[in-house]
């Protein structure tokens, strides 16, 4: 198309469209820069100017020092990382195993299993029966509440199943002819070919684990078990005076004894976002594409 000459109205349209799209992109990104700048602005400067300063005359990393000094944020990073690793591995393992089994048309009772999955997809238990179950199982207020309830999802199983069904059968057949048994086929042939779908769903699960704070609000009372997102939530809602619902659970938090200033809050926002920025290129590569193919096929 670039070879074709543009009419005047097309030119005007293109200019406006570019402007509009760039504006939206700026609106999506600029707030993150505001957050960074606010985290670097000393409290004194803030008071002196009586408002927000985009380019503070003096920059201080004191807020970051403070955020990391309290120790709770570091503990929370450990919890979050552990949760991401354990939760994601468990999710991928269970869902891919089930997806592989269901991808075989000769699987015993295949229809029944698929119906069970579909029902779980359409109808879930309410918050309170689920809470009661978790308490009966002793999951409440333990690390396991983070990884066990999210371990299986019908949606991931269906995506794995779709992927495995599309793998060329000849590969598996050839391996069996070569004398491999079923387990070897699975580990040596199927698994290496499935890395893209593992990456896509793995990143999906990992980001979900990293960002989730609601599980902690509902099931966790021990502040030492808070992940980063939950510590961030408690710092943010505490200081605004807009004491959120979770407030009542947070009265004894060491971190909240002093009211955190704007810069401390924003430093915590930045620290909790950095890991996402690190995986963002991979997200774009696997996740967006995976979603795309999933969306089109599904």
């Amino acid at each position: 198309m670039p070879g074709i000459r543009m009419t005047l109205s097309e030119k005007i349209y293109q200019v406006l469209a570019h402007a509009g799209v760039i504006l939206v992109a700026l609106v999506c990104v600029a707030p993150f820069l505001f957050v960074v700048s606010a985290s670097l602005t000393p409290q004194a400067v803030l008071q002196q100017y009586g408002g927000y300063v985009m380019f503070p005359p003096k920059v201080t990393f004191y807020a970051y020092q403070l955020a990391l000094q309290t120790g709770q944020l570091l503990d929370a990073f450990v919890i979050s990382v552990a949760r991401v690793l354990v939760g994601t591995s468990l999710h991928l393992a269970l869902c891919s195993m089930a997806g592989y089994a269901l991808s075989k048309s000769y699987l015993f009772g295949r229809k029944v299993w698929l119906i069970i999955l579909l029902i779980s997809f359409l109808f879930g238990p309410g918050l309170i029966p689920f809470f009661v179950l978790c308490r009966t199982l002793g999951l409440v207020n333990t690390f396991w509440i983070y990884v066990v309830p999210g371990a299986v999802s019908a949606w991931s199983i269906f995506i794995f199943r779709q992927f495995f069904m599309e793998l060329p059968k000849e590969l598996e057949e050839a391996a069996i002819l070569d004398g491999a048994d079923e387990l070897q086929v699975l580990l040596r042939v199927v698994l290496p070919l499935s890395m893209p779908v593992y990456m896509a769903l793995g990143l999906f699960a990992a980001v979900g684990h990293w960002n989730d704070y609601l599980t902690s609000v509902i099931y966790i009372r021990d502040v030492g078990l808070y992940p980063v997102a939950m510590v961030l939530q408690s710092i943010l809602t505490f200081a605004t005076g807009t004491s959120g619902l979770g407030q009542q659970m947070l009265k004894d938090t060491e971190l909240l004894k002093q009211i955190p200033g704007q810069s401390l809050k924003m430093a915590t926002v930045v620290l909790s976002t950095i890991p996402i920025l690190f995986v963002y290129p991979f997200l774009q590569k696997y996740f967006a594409k995976g979603m795309l193919t999933g969306a089109i096929k599904g």
Binding site: M1, P2, S9, Y13, Q14, A17, H18, V21, I22, A25, C28, V29, P31, F32, F34, V35, A38, G50, G51, Y52, L94, C95, M97, A98, Y100, A101, K104, W113, S120, L122, F123, G124, P125, G126, L127, I128, P129, V132, V148, P149, I157, L186, V207, W210, N211, D212, Y213, L214, L232, Q233, T237, T240, G244, L245, G246, Q262, V269, S272, L283, I296
Partner: protein, 332 residues
């Protein structure tokens, strides 16, 4: 092959007798054979199925005794007394229940009304951009907010709008406009939730529409341009018709989520000062049912939410099949 070992050769040769004899044995045997042949597959499947039964089916069944009993933690579910429909009627009699239901539906409706078209418009604009580099960069930047947590979004809302030192607050103040405290006032709650929601999801929502547009034959665009189609012809006769089926599909499917107006976000934005407009079913069930230990009441409300949600999904599915199908037909 399954019966060959168990049934004696002589019996096999006597035809009918052997068949009758072998029937029950054959079924039993074939199950064993299946287990022997498929043990690995079934073993791979087992954890997921067990998980679904334990964490999905069992608590769903648990709903029934919890709704119809006066659940006491001390007694446990099975020993608590049956009380009939008390919890269900109590839910409908609670004065704030109807308000909470209305809040939920209104918030969902506002999200749909304000948030449905922006991703479509953005996708059309983005797809038609001449400068490839601008298109690629903008596209990959707009879905960054989708991947950050709701607490981070709340932090961003604070940095933009907080009364003393927000970016927008400061900017507006410098031109003489004084923003009120947006967080402590019911009037601003819904717009705040809706717009921050759009901000977070617009780029992500755009992806599926962009995928559809990039699936349109480029020849069609070229032919249209050669025939002298202006940008508005292109949008009207190529972009919109190709997006319509997916858009209708997503719209009808989003009907199914009307009773879930975004627990994670609303919980964060909600304060006691904004309960009157911001309290939705999920936050109410959490606060009253779980924190307030009114388990039966909370379960009853949660149960109705699930039931209505299921009905809405099935209806939406029907609608989507009808309208999206029609849309497909109309555009071809």
């Amino acid at each position: 092959m399954a019966i060959s070992d168990a049934v004696p050769a002589a019996a096999r040769q006597t035809g009918a007798v052997a068949a009758v004899l072998a029937m029950p044995e054959r079924r039993k045997k074939s199950l064993l054979t299946i287990l022997r042949q498929q043990w690995l597959l079934l073993l791979l499947l087992a954890p997921a199925i067990i998980w679904i039964v334990v964490f999905n089916f069992y608590p769903t069944l648990l709903t029934i005794p919890m709704v119809f009993k006066d659940y006491k933690v001390m007694l446990g579910i099975w020993k608590s007394p049956w009380i009939g429909f008390g919890n269900i009627t109590r839910a409908f009699e609670a004065p704030d229940f109807w308000q909470v239901l209305a809040n939920t539906v209104i918030l969902s409706a506002m999200r749909l009304a304000a948030g449905f078209f922006p991703p479509i418009i953005l996708a059309i604009l983005t797809h038609n951009l001449r400068l490839n580099r601008v298109r690629r960069i903008c596209q990959s930047v707009t879905y960054l907010p989708h991947f950050v947590s709701w607490p981070v979004v709340w932090g961003i809302v604070l940095v933009l709008l907080s009364p003393g030192s927000g970016v927008l607050t400061t900017m507006l103040r410098s031109i003489g406009l004084h923003l009120p405290d947006l967080f402590m006032n019911s009037v601003y709650f819904r717009p705040l939730v809706v717009f921050s929601g759009i901000w977070k999801e617009i780029g992500w929502g755009m992806i599926i529409y962009l995928a559809v547009l990039s699936g349109v034959e480029p020849e069609l665009y070229e032919a249209a341009t050669v025939d002298g189609a202006e940008w508005h012809h292109r949008i009207r006769y190529l972009d919109i018709p190709s997006l319509k089926p997916v858009a209708v599909l997503l719209l009808t499917l989003s009907l199914a989520g009307v009773l879930s107006a975004g627990f994670e976000q609303v919980y964060l934005f909600l304060t006691p000062l904004t309960y009157d407009v911001g309290d939705i079913i999920d936050t109410w069930v959490f606060r009253r049912g779980l924190m307030g230990a009114e388990f039966g009441l909370g379960t009853a409300v949660g149960f109705w939410k699930s039931v209505i949600g299921l009905i809405l999904i099935l209806v939406a599915n029907k609608l989507a099949r009808r309208f999206a199908g029609q849309g497909l037909w109309g555009s071809s």
